[in-house]
Symmetry: C2
Subunit: 363 residues, 2 copies
Amino acid sequence: MGRKRLQESADGRPTVHTVAARAGVSIASASRVLNGVGGSPETIRKVREAAAEVGYVPNAIARSLQSQRTGLVALAVEDIGNPVYVEMMRAIESVVAASGRQLLVHATGGRIDNETALLRRLAHRYVDGMIVSPIRVTDDHLAALVDSPVPVVVVGQLAADAPVDNVRTDSRTGVGLAVDHLVAAGRRRIGFVNGPLDTVPGAARDAGFRAALARHGIALDERLVEVGDFRYAAGRAATERLLARAAPDALVCANDLIAVGALHALLAAGRRVPDDVALVGMDDTELARMTFPQLSSVSLGSAERGRRAAELLLSRIADPALPPRREQVAPSLAVRASSATAPLSVPAPAEPAPAPRTPEVTA
Amino acid sequence: MGRKRLQESADGRPTVHTVAARAGVSIASASRVLNGVGGSPETIRKVREAAAEVGYVPNAIARSLQSQRTGLVALAVEDIGNPVYVEMMRAIESVVAASGRQLLVHATGGRIDNETALLRRLAHRYVDGMIVSPIRVTDDHLAALVDSPVPVVVVGQLAADAPVDNVRTDSRTGVGLAVDHLVAAGRRRIGFVNGPLDTVPGAARDAGFRAALARHGIALDERLVEVGDFRYAAGRAATERLLARAAPDALVCANDLIAVGALHALLAAGRRVPDDVALVGMDDTELARMTFPQLSSVSLGSAERGRRAAELLLSRIADPALPPRREQVAPSLAVRASSATAPLSVPAPAEPAPAPRTPEVTA
DNA sequence: CAGACTCCCGGAAACGTTTACAGCAAGCAG
DNA sequence: CTGCTTGCTGTAAACGTTTCCGGGAGTCTG
């Protein structure tokens, strides 16, 4: 009894030593059998039996130390309550799973320290690689990304010279698509409900909105612009503030959550959508098809970006020496009832879109 | 040069040996300084300098092998697109973060093999513990849970004698609350849109619905019962099927996603909510406050269950010898416009509920 | 029947940390 | 001046695996 104790791990669980001793073979043989490489029939039987008897389960940490890989990949996003990240995650997951790895998700809650802390912890070898989609990027942050000890792919805008794999979209142009569509439908008092301007997407969308109006020769009325954060409640509150001081005939929202909040505020204020106010969201998440009326939305290809990011990551894991790469996904606009020129009485009874959605209208 | 190479890790990254050699001290001293315990001022300076020069970052895997802990906790849920899990996750995250650990989420997609695989991989020591919320539980599954090498807490119904920490709610009673409310409001042709009957929550809700009707002496019309899965599209499709063959004056839905699908189907079919058909969802997620009209919903205390599960897990990590514990969270009903007796013209302009939401009506 | 070849086995090193232990120098009380 | 304490240091073991390598037994070929 006393000597058996020496073969157990600190917490009393069996190790490969336990199994080997019980089977009367060396740990090398035990390990080989357990990994299904080599071993005589007799040895295999003995080891299997011993393992089953003691309930052996290998310690993945120890294995990883030896093999230099964990088979895990992480995705860090700001807010897992945002369906755009859910779509991205699903796309990533399917690529990652196909490579025999497992995907883990971490919600940073937008706290930048949290995100850097994640990089400085997880990245220190608990995962084989990670995909991050930061909404704010500081120098500190960038530095952490650049000298991460594991491969990192960034989804989102990044400084042009940052030596980091990066898949992006052009949300500036995306906002432009929405504005073009609304102007073509005869709307002129177009409002904009945005997220924080100190975030990368917030800034890009603001710039896109202003540029688009200018392109159409429409003077921007600042009372038609409101800012909250990227979630539902803020979108609703921001829209209420906006409605209290101005009368838009259309509203562009920086994402679908904000748009749903805006829809709610509009309906509660007795405005008809799209008759009185046309509404366009952004990200084209499944949420856009869950509202009544269904929401027009600018697709930024989140699933596609996720898929590409995952592929970049896997190829970099396979060959860390690759030069930094950058990919771009074009935005497109899906027009639905919330901005239809002739309001539909009944939304199309469409099934949810198939996986690689084809853009309804492309830039 | 040649000998320095021997101190680097396989992929060329610096190790504690690299730092020690460069600083001219032993690895023990280097490690001590790096961990902030001991060291003379001179040694500290030299080690810090050397570490900075070579860009040393500790290998967390190696550290974990030694310390027998990773500081990571995992949450495995079926569908991360379901807001009920988002709420649960947020609650868990805050408890876990307060203990200095990091939370990782894995979406199993309901594939049971996926979930067991997760247990058999992650649980093999990559994380210090995990919380799982399975919707199907097989014997295999249960076995994997029971002899998991790391602490596990299950959120959801489990066999009474399963020796696993468990926090549950009573969704049978929960469905009863919804039915009671609708009956009290004078509804009699109450329909039910459920998820798969071979899942634990699906079965419980079905039983609860039938029991509640029986309690009120209402004969169940099977044409008023439909089944899909637990997501939006299926909920909408199921409701369309139901409406095609029967005329309910109220609808109970097995979760909020289904309820939103049902709301959409009802509006598309020209039914007014709540005037023609009253609607009650379940889980009381933020989604229920994002629809128009706002959705009545049975709260199953997801945030509370998450919080408690996290606490159970942390205490078990601290003391693995604890006996298995079981906690229960009571359901409650939040009545909103979708089932209000006198339909509200304007939904309450309520801010999103504060974190520990107080139930509007309790059993 | 000798030699080459195959297969299986066990010892030991390695992965990159932390830490128990012992040695050693310096400081101080007696 | 001696002996004890204090504070640092380096050596080496440990965490639980996988894997390289050399040796031994068996099989096949010539």
